[in-house]
Symmetry: C2
Subunit: 397 residues, 2 copies
């Protein structure tokens, strides 16, 4: 099997024209937008030309079926509201090229998928969630976009093109190629990452309540300032979490609301969210213990009332060991000494597909670690290296 | 001159009935509300009964004029949206009682004032700002309440009751009695405070801009997290400001806005306000130098873009030395060993009146330091002690 890198890059740039932002290589192609539907129509044609049987499923996932039982390759072709040209698109077009090359070589059977609404215009990873049975279709249908459209209304617009659910039994495994969206590969000057697991994610909504008071008359030593509670909590996390974290562990306070949020009033209340991610369940547990005890301690030390509630967690998803081994061998053959095994810090469609079959992922570097931004990009040589590793792995399976 | 404490307390409770919240002794009597207008009508009657000539000025300040040249006593009778019964009201009724007692004693000439919109339903200290020439009437007229009414519309509702501007030349000085709204008097078990100055206030609007990024894929060591910039800035203030502060100096971060304020996104931007107050201009300067250099340092250390803009500052207002001396002598006579000289952490109408004549203030304790709250209160014995100090000072002037 011989992939054609020029044809692969040409298709990647052709897909980029659907929703091209006009800013760098950026794209604006949210799920079920005109640009997204046009891109799926174009992809349908490319699949047919490659000898695959296109099938749009009821929730907008577009499959290109090889006919025989075999591997499924792909990702998603919808984008963020201000997205990069590779996030999702790369995995779909790489899958298409490998399927085409396999067809030309007389085998093996390689099918392709572009999942729908991975970027969460309505839900989050909606297409792969429904297909894998992780989300009931009627629950997905009720989800709303920011502009007030339900997922049901959106998918009704392409209902005339849609067939039934695609039977997953025809696929032996799923490999998703994707950009890293982080700094590690570029930092190590590696061309390829073989993903070991997709990190788990947990989050706590925390409220500290102190005493709202006059910012002029209330002496520093009698204040129970909720914002100062948050600052002390944050300092404690930065002090203690590194003791259990690896260099890949992350934690983030990204959402904060002070009350009453006025310049002359000591904040009586702060509601905020702390999120953390790690590849190991045990480390997620240890981080959680530190975070919860930090909140308890700060509340007690500062006379603050504490409320803590957890958001639904995502468990880490281990990549299949056999598939990792095949991808590692392929990487050794194609980019010897220039690849690494690594976790994925972001959640992907592969997390859902793991409910149905063995899954694996292969990463290529993101320049500057930038993603979800028009500036997102990857060196052409790395795009091709990733494609060749994927093809080599499929050939060896 | 002999004040009548029973009559004083009865009037104070009578005023409380206008806008009584039904929660503790709380009141809801914002400027130009029905309750506020009714309270001013009642006050007009009480002034007339006391032998004073009532005059509502064009912006709603209600004077009770003694006729001869002499001291002006008072404060404001409008309240916060959820206010206490004493904030402002105390100074007005204490002034009324002293004026009445002085009248009964055959002198001296004591006039009374209830300023309008001290609590800032439209502006802030609007009535005393206009009367003292610190705010142009046409600028005040354009100010809007939260429910969208202009100050011009509000004052038009009582225009039929209003006379012309009251000539300040008839007043030799102004003394404002007020609750402390802070913890110091109660903490020291003092009954009275003689105010030395009203603190100055400065504020900076600060923006840190870092790099918005994916909270899963972006390693801790490459982040430029704007919220972490704010937290580090706050820690530096808490570390360095105590080196120049007195125990009365205060600083507050009460207003914070993160962008994009989402749980899975590293904050790319934080806009916040830091306010500080002190009685001394030189100390305000030293605090400002620390705050500005902390912002510079944190921005440089963390690779954040920094924007700083100052809000209009308020300079400290010194109380008149002679009036302070008279009040101190009076306090020595009435509550020997149970009073202290102290700054005012809050801004008051006296800050404005200082443009026109010598001013002074006398404080009584706030239970628990609580104000701007239905729970605001002061022991009756302290209310009476404050009244007696005020009357004694007027008698000695």
């Amino acid at each position: 099997m011989k992939v054609n890198s020029a044809r692969f890059l040409a298709d990647l740039h052709a897909l980029r024209q659907f929703g091209a932002s006009g800013v760098g290589k950026g794209v604006v192609r949210p799920a079920f937008s005109r640009a997204d539907i046009a891109a799926r129509e174009w992809l349908t044609g490319r699949m047919r030309e490659a000898g695959l049987k296109p099938q749009l499923d009821p929730v907008g996932n577009l499959f290109g079926l090889a006919g025989g039982r075999g591997v499924l390759l792909g990702s998603h072709s919808d984008s963020q509201p201000e997205g990069g040209w590779l996030d999702g698109a790369l995995g779909v077009i790489a899958g298409l090229e490998v399927a085409r090359a396999a067809r030309e070589a007389g085998g093996p059977a390689v099918s392709v998928i572009s999942f729908q609404d991975e970027e969460g215009r309505y839900g989050a990873l909606t297409g792969s969630s429904v297909w894998s049975g992780g989300l009931l279709p009627e629950v997905a249908d009720a989800m709303l976009s920011a502009d007030g459209e339900t997922f049901a209304e959106a998918r009704a617009r392409v209902a005339h093109l849609a067939g039934g659910r695609v039977d997953p039994a025809q696929f032996t495994s799923f490999i998703e190629m994707h950009i890293e969206q982080g700094p590690w590969l570029q930092q190590a000057n590696d061309a390829v990452g073989v993903v070991t697991s997709i990190v788990g994610l947990r989050g706590l909504d925390i409220v500290f309540e102190g005493q709202q008071n006059h910012a002029g008359t209330t002496a520093m030593h009698v204040r129970r300032d909720a914002f100062q509670g948050l600052a002390a909590f944050n300092a404690r996390l930065n002090d203690r979490l590194p003791g259990v974290a690896t260099e890949r562990s992350v934690w983030t306070i990204g959402e904060v609301a002070l009350s009453p949020n006025a310049s002359s009033i000591i904040p009586g209340r702060v509601a905020f969210h702390v999120q953390w991610r790690d590849a190991e369940t045990e480390r997620l547990d240890r981080m959680e213990a530190i975070i919860r005890s930090a909140a308890d301690d700060i509340a007690a030390l500062r006379g603050l009332k504490l409320t803590v509630s957890a958001r639904p967690p995502l468990a880490p998803v281990a990549m299949d060991g056999d598939l990792q081994a095949v991808l590692s061998d392929a990487a050794d053959a194609v980019v010897p000494g220039r690849w690494q095994a690594m976790p994925s810090g972001a959640v992907h469609d592969a997390s859902n597909v793991a409910r149905l079959m063995p899954v694996a992922m292969v990463f290529v570097p993101s320049i500057g670690g930038i993603s979800h931004d028009f500036a997102e990009d990857t060196d052409e040589a790395d795009l091709v290296a990733g494609l060749e590793v994927l093809a080599e792995a499929v050939a060896r399976m």
